[in-house]
């Protein structure tokens, strides 16, 4: 009996040890960062820095260590977070230089198409033509963003496609993916920048395959509205 007790004690002791060990592991898995948790995230965008300075926030954090910016983030005037994100969506196998070149060429094509339109149209029509490729990209992404998504759920042994509202980030991701997938569906002889430019312009006008895909999804969600309550029950 005594032996059993000692054994038990040992076990509990081991448990305590294991616990500490596990907690240690957990803290490691939670923080892969090179920087300790005391470091705060700074900003590299000049306007935000200015805001910090005006509000006096800068004085407060003056002596707190700050994490550095990523190497593709710049305080340049030409930096755009959405463009950066879209570049990463285009990227395959980590070839970022290629992805960036593709997007730059796409922007060039967009600009050329729009400028030729601009030069050939009348003065009144000229004001309506958007020439900034970045704005066109923003517009295209905004037009392709879905609001709902179908989620397969198993209820009573049957899988139902249940319409579910989606997060902002998920919808932005889907929009970008649809545009890129639409651009990739092309003839072998056509280069991606050409097709992508065309898709972007179409999407910015609320046309094109990516926008249609969004509309189809919405239509399906509408059709499956009867299953909506499966989300909760």
């Amino acid at each position: 009996m005594a032996i059993f007790r000692t054994l038990l004690r040992q076990v509990t002791f081991q448990k305590v040890l294991l616990g500490t060990k596990r907690s240690g592991v957990i803290s490691l898995t939670n923080n892969y960062s090179l920087f300790p948790s005391t470091f705060i995230k700074g900003t590299f965008i000049p306007s935000e820095q200015n805001k910090l300075k005006e509000s006096g926030e800068l004085q407060k954090i003056a002596h707190i260590p700050i994490k550095p910016a990523f190497n593709d983030e710049t305080s340049s005037e030409f930096y755009d977070p959405i463009v950066r994100k879209f570049t990463n969506y285009i990227m395959r196998k980590g070839k970022k230089v290629l992805a960036r070149n593709l997007l730059e060429k796409t922007f060039e094509n967009v600009k050329r198409i729009q400028l030729e339109k601009y030069n050939s149209s009348s003065f009144e029509a000229q004001t309506e033509i958007e020439l900034n490729p970045t704005v066109i990209l923003h517009q295209a992404l905004a037009n392709c963003k879905p609001v709902l998504e179908l989620m397969p759920m198993r209820r009573g042994g049957v899988r139902y496609q249940v319409p579910v509202p989606i997060r902002e980030s998920r919808s932005a991701f889907l929009a970008a993916r649809w545009i890129i997938e639409a651009a990739k569906d092309k003839e072998r002889t056509i280069h991606l920048p050409e097709k992508l430019a065309w898709e972007l312009i179409e999407a910015s006008k609320n046309q094109g395959r990516a926008v249609r895909r969004k509309q189809e999804l919405h239509k399906q969600c509408e059709a499956n509205r009867a299953y909506a309550h499966y989300r909760w029950s």
Binding site: Q49, S76, K105, F107, R112, E116, N119, N132
Partner: protein, 386 residues
């Protein structure tokens, strides 16, 4: 902390710039913006130092006549299409050469000008300006858009009939004849230049004394087998005609140092590399750049990209090699440089006018200037995705 302060400093200046920028936009009148970067003097024959750092426009029909078969760089051609006009900045090297051309003595052998400079500084575009000048002053144009094309991408090769061991490029030669005819047919028919000797191409085909040059060129275009030899003859005839004062001639060759390279993609029957010195086209165009004729101008551009074997320096003697230097000597080396700050501002203004770049603050322009190091090609490249 340093990171913050630096970017904050940058931010302050950019704020000032923004204010200034919006003020400029307010002034802009949509109907007829004041275009200080342009000159209305579109005839290069009248260009002087007063027109420097201004844009002038080449009329579309002239552009089509002169540069339909090459002459404008690939990127510039795209810009012409996008901007719906072919405008060129009047720069110092072009004005300098034009002033020399005006002064020089045409009873003497032609003066030779060699444009040199780093990659993308505008040597070819300066050449375009000078070709337009020659066209405006009614000179016969012997223009090679990019000599390297013949040696790196020959379309067809054949052994020469006339010169043993030489190689003809029939299609390329015929294409050049088309280019020559396109550039000069008005002037040739107007001046009524005629062949001065009898030439027998084969048993049946001959060109007799007194035939118009245009007819011989057409023959060369139709019978591409003889095109290389016809170029040879044509160049000799033009030299003769210039010497006699019937016409004056301008030679413009881009990538001239390709003729003195050791490398080419042309192979003979034994699959051995044929250097450019054994290609019949080379002989023709080296012949026209000799000093044994008068009443002409020779402008050539040397470029690092024109040879595969000599790429260490962009300076003319190195690129021409000793052989080429002795062939050209004495020549006037003209350095084409990167943009000056004035030129850069003019270019930026032009791009803004053409909507190629929009709403860029002064700070952004400064960033582009530093990034491109004032190099025209790089600046053009950096502006494309904006």
């Amino acid at each position: 902390m340093v990171f913050y302060t630096q970017s904050l400093l940058r931010r302050i200046t950019s704020g000032h710039v923004r204010m200034f920028g919006t003020a400029l936009e307010a002034i802009k009148v949509p109907e007829e913006p004041p275009q200080t970067f342009r000159t209305i003097e579109n005839n290069p024959a009248n260009h002087t130092i007063d027109h420097m750092n201004r844009f002038y426009t080449i009329a579309p029909e002239i552009q089509k006549q002169l540069f339909q078969h090459g002459g404008l760089t690939k990127f510039f051609q795209k810009q012409v299409k996008t901007f719906a006009e072919c405008s060129i900045l009047i720069r110092q090297p072009a004005i300098e050469i034009i002033s020399y051309i005006r002064q020089s003595d045409y009873s003497k052998p032609p003066n030779k000008y060699v444009l040199y400079g780093e990659f993308g500084v505008g040597k070819s575009t300066t050449l375009v300006h000078l070709i337009h000048y020659a066209f405006a002053t009614r000179k016969i144009l012997i223009h090679v858009p990019w000599a390297q094309n013949w040696f790196s991408r020959p379309r067809e090769t054949a052994n020469s009939i006339v010169h043993e061991g030489n190689i003809d490029l029939p299609i390329d030669a015929a294409a050049w004849l088309v280019h020559f005819k396109n550039q000069n047919h008005y002037l040739l028919s107007e001046l009524d230049l005629r062949v001065t000797k009898d030439y027998a191409w084969s048993h049946r085909e001959t060109t007799s004394n007194g035939t118009p040059l245009l007819e011989m060129i057409n023959f060369g275009i139709n019978r591409i087998k003889f095109a290389s030899e016809i170029i040879n003859v044509l160049i000799n005839e033009l030299k003769e005609a210039s010497r006699d004062g019937k016409c004056s001639t301008m030679v413009a060759i881009d990538g001239y140092n390709a003729f003195f390279s050791e490398y080419s993609a042309i192979r003979d029957d034994n699959k051995k590399v044929v250097p450019p010195s054994r290609v019949s086209l080379t002989h023709a165009f080296l012949n026209i750049t000799k000093s044994d004729w008068c009443n002409g101008i020779i402008v050539v551009a040397v470029d690092i990209l024109a040879t595969k074997d000599r790429r260490e320096s962009y300076l003319p003697r190195f690129l021409l090699n000793k052989e080429g230097f002795e062939h050209m000597d004495p020549f006037l080396p003209v350095h084409v440089k990167n943009y000056t700050t004035d030129e850069f501002e003019i270019i930026a203004e032009y791009y803004k006018n053409r909507k190629w770049i929009r709403d860029i603050s002064k700070q952004g322009l400064r960033e582009l200037q530093l990034l491109s190091q004032n190099n025209p090609y790089k600046f053009m490249e950096y502006c494309t995705p904006l």
